[in-house]
Amino acid sequence: MAIAEEKKFISLINEHQGLIHKVCIMYENDRDVRNDLFQEIVLQLWKSFSSFRGESKISTWMYRIALNTAISGYRKQTRLLKTEDLREMHLNISDAGSDDYDENFQKLQWAIRQLSEIERAMIMMALEEIPYEEIAETIGITQNNVRVRMNRIREKLKKLMCP
């Protein structure tokens, strides 16, 4: 029974690991620390897997745990990222991924990382097509507040990506 549960969980993580990778890369610069964060998120997901009832989308549940871990439960060694430091950003991302890296995604990623931790969480969920209602529930603010903040975030991203 426990083994079957573990297999089910592993295949779930395998299927949705892109989400965890994205959270890690948005909240950590260093490759090793990012790997630690990935493992911590997987562990926290595993801990709360038995209590997941399927009332919300699997991605919403995963975002909730992943963001809680990345933002509040994990004491990280942060390094300030300079706005103009695109080159270093590119090196960091290349560590984690493929050779023919999509330039637009790189630019978007850089722009998102200029936002505050809460704004990053919100825009990531919005880009994953998570409804505002579930974003509000995950962050713990009202839907109206989500709408207002999302407008501000969109404006900020626009300025950052097309100055």
Binding site: V42, N68, G73, I93, F105, L108, I139, L157
Partner: protein, 204 residues
């Protein structure tokens, strides 16, 4: 650039990560958590086990001695260790209350702030109590070493009183400063970060 454009760029990013295979994920499940609360818990468990081992050692040593200064010294240290054991258990019970990763971000952060603040306060206050105890123990050992009569004569000299008051004040100031600095370095900055995030969440 509209949200829909950003979404399509975002989706293209799915392919750029080096995926973990199932075996790697399975190994991760056997790993240990490095969350802040788990780290704190591990430290306290280490202190607790250390205090118990030292207590047992002191007990055996005290039992092997006849009457004398060393026996009383060992017993007083043993009592200190036993008091520490209770203190560590209390610390663990405070930390065990810090859960809630399943809640929304706002509630998790509020909960962590409240509990980490009370943990750090408890840590600071207990050390504020412990330092005078260490000081009094130092005096006790001095009595045991010199003998009560000599110690009373020694203590009645004004220069001794001034010296002791000076040392007590210095020990208190240095140790309080050190505890505050140590706690801020370890967890204070994280707590400040959490407070800033909560402030941002509370803004409309």
């Amino acid at each position: 650039m509209e949200l829909e454009d950003l979404k399509s760029i975002w989706k293209s990013g799915e392919t750029v990560f080096q995926p973990k295979n199932e075996q790697e994920i399975a190994i991760m499940l056997k790993g240990r958590s490095i969350s802040i609360v788990n780290k704190l818990k591990r430290n306290v468990w280490f202190e607790l086990v250390f205090a118990i081992v030292v207590s047992l050692g002191l007990l055996l040593y005290a039992l092997s001695l006849e009457q004398g200064a060393m026996k009383w010294t060992s017993i007083s240290l043993l009592l200190m260790c036993l008091a520490s054991t209770i203190y560590f258990i209390k610390k663990l019970s405070v930390l065990n209350r810090v859960q809630g990763i399943n809640d929304n971000l706002h509630d998790t952060i509020s909960f962590l702030i409240t509990n980490l603040t009370s943990y750090l306060k408890f840590y600071r206050n207990s050390y504020t109590v412990l330092y005078p105890v260490y000081f009094l123990l130092g005096l006790l050992f001095s009595v045991l070493e010199r003998g009560t009569d000599k110690f009373v004569v020694f203590l009645s000299q004004p220069s001794t009183i001034v010296y002791l008051l000076f040392m007590a004040g210095l020990c208190f100031l240095v140790s309080t400063w050190f505890t505050r600095w140590y706690l801020k370095k370890l967890y204070g900055d994280h707590l400040e970060k959490l407070k800033k995030i909560l402030d941002e969440l509370n803004q409309q």
